[in-house]
Symmetry: C2
Subunit: 232 residues, 2 copies
């Protein structure tokens, strides 16, 4: 049924590094076409492989997206850590630097950012993904506590997600929500009617810093100010 295979096909019958090639192709597709134009077949095409080949490495589309989401979360963590280090060295606000890094990561590759936050079906229970998510959240918790003048954590490397953030949870939630919401509103075009005139980058340069400063002041403002309204 297949005696006449093309020479090039036979020579490359085994790709050899398909998993890495698929990941690279997926990131390229997300960067070029966004999540809407993302397709398993297109990724396979770019990797020079049949549409069924990726199944051996990722199971199905969900598996590939879970992998991409994990890598994206790691990059988000790296970007935040780098921003913190750079801000520390320059004596600027660590929290504002984190916020800017978060927004820039989202704007830099909206498709990838959307994959990270599950706009397309993926496995959020995946162990590697959960680890990556926990790391990001830990960075946020640490920085929020630091910005409030508290100890970051007893031990620097204990699991920061499940245990510590109880007392500062509202502050952490506000910080994450604000930064994440601002990012998603931007990449979804919900703020276009505000940014269209001056351009998105100019808008960011003009207003983002004030927004982040307002957020930072909110986090350090009231130690117990929020409590009496808990009933509402």
């Amino acid at each position: 049924m297949t005696e006449a295979m093309s020479r090039v096909t036979r020579e490359h019958y085994h790709h050899g590094a398909l998993r890495q090639a698929m990941i690279a192709a997926a990131e390229a597709v997300l960067a070029e076409r966004g999540l809407g134009g993302f397709t398993l077949r297109e990724c396979a095409r770019r990797a020079g492989v049949s549409p069924a080949a990726p199944a051996h490495h990722f199971g199905n589309l969900t598996g590939l997206l879970t992998t991409i989401a994990t890598l994206g979360f790691d990059d988000l963590s790296d970007a935040m850590e780098a921003a913190v280090a750079s801000a520390q060295a320059q004596g600027r606000s660590r929290l504002a630097a984190i916020a800017r890094a978060y927004v820039e990561t989202a704007l830099g590759n909206p498709g990838r950012f959307r994959v990270v936050f599950g706009q397309r079906e993926m496995d959020r229970q995946d162990a590697a993904f959960r680890a990556a998510a926990t790391r990001s959240f830990g960075i946020l918790v640490r920085e929020v506590r630091l910005s409030r003048g508290l100890q970051p954590s007893r031990l620097p490397d204990e699991k920061p997600a499940a245990q510590a953030p109880a007392p500062d949870l509202p502050e952490v939630l506000l910080a994450w929500s604000a930064v994440h919401g601002f990012s998603t509103l931007l990449i979804d075009g919900a703020l276009d009617f505000l940014t269209a005139e001056e351009g998105r980058q100019a808008f960011l340069d003009k207003h983002a810093a004030r927004l982040f400063a307002l957020l930072a002041s909110a986090l350090s403002a009231g130690q117990g100010l929020a409590k009496e309204a808990a009933r509402d």
Copy 2:
């Protein structure tokens, strides 16, 4: 080729109210299956019509989604206005009520909420959609200004989007970003590792009010008008 049409088909050849039926079907599909399970063919199936029929009323899938997004934005505005009125009558915080209404709208039908914010290709330039979006934004601007003890607007019904919010823009952006980010993090499951233990609703009852109170205090902090924040 078509002499033998089924009797029921011939009698209902013209649906009569397909546009409304498609909208109803679309909302039902979004509520049941979410945005991931949303399909033009499935909506047509529920409306009792062939897959090609909706094209005459919506052009294509993008047109249908734009319509749904417009209705969803209107519902969001209605929910916010109702929450404000109710909070006013009971002497509670208007801003917290808006925030809660926003989150509840998102959690009540995540698929629809995602359509509103363009997770699937739609026409954001559509006039009706822009009007609905502007209305929502206007409500938010008004309430943020009110919460800061300022006049809501010179004239109550002039276009509030393009002109007014310049001075309070950072506060408005923080409010919208925080509430929107909190909503999307919740419906995307990014907070599941926090909500899994006690359940999502219990988590909301416990922490959402504190989060919103923190936000409200942040908005009034800048000008030093702590009147409302002190009460709520």
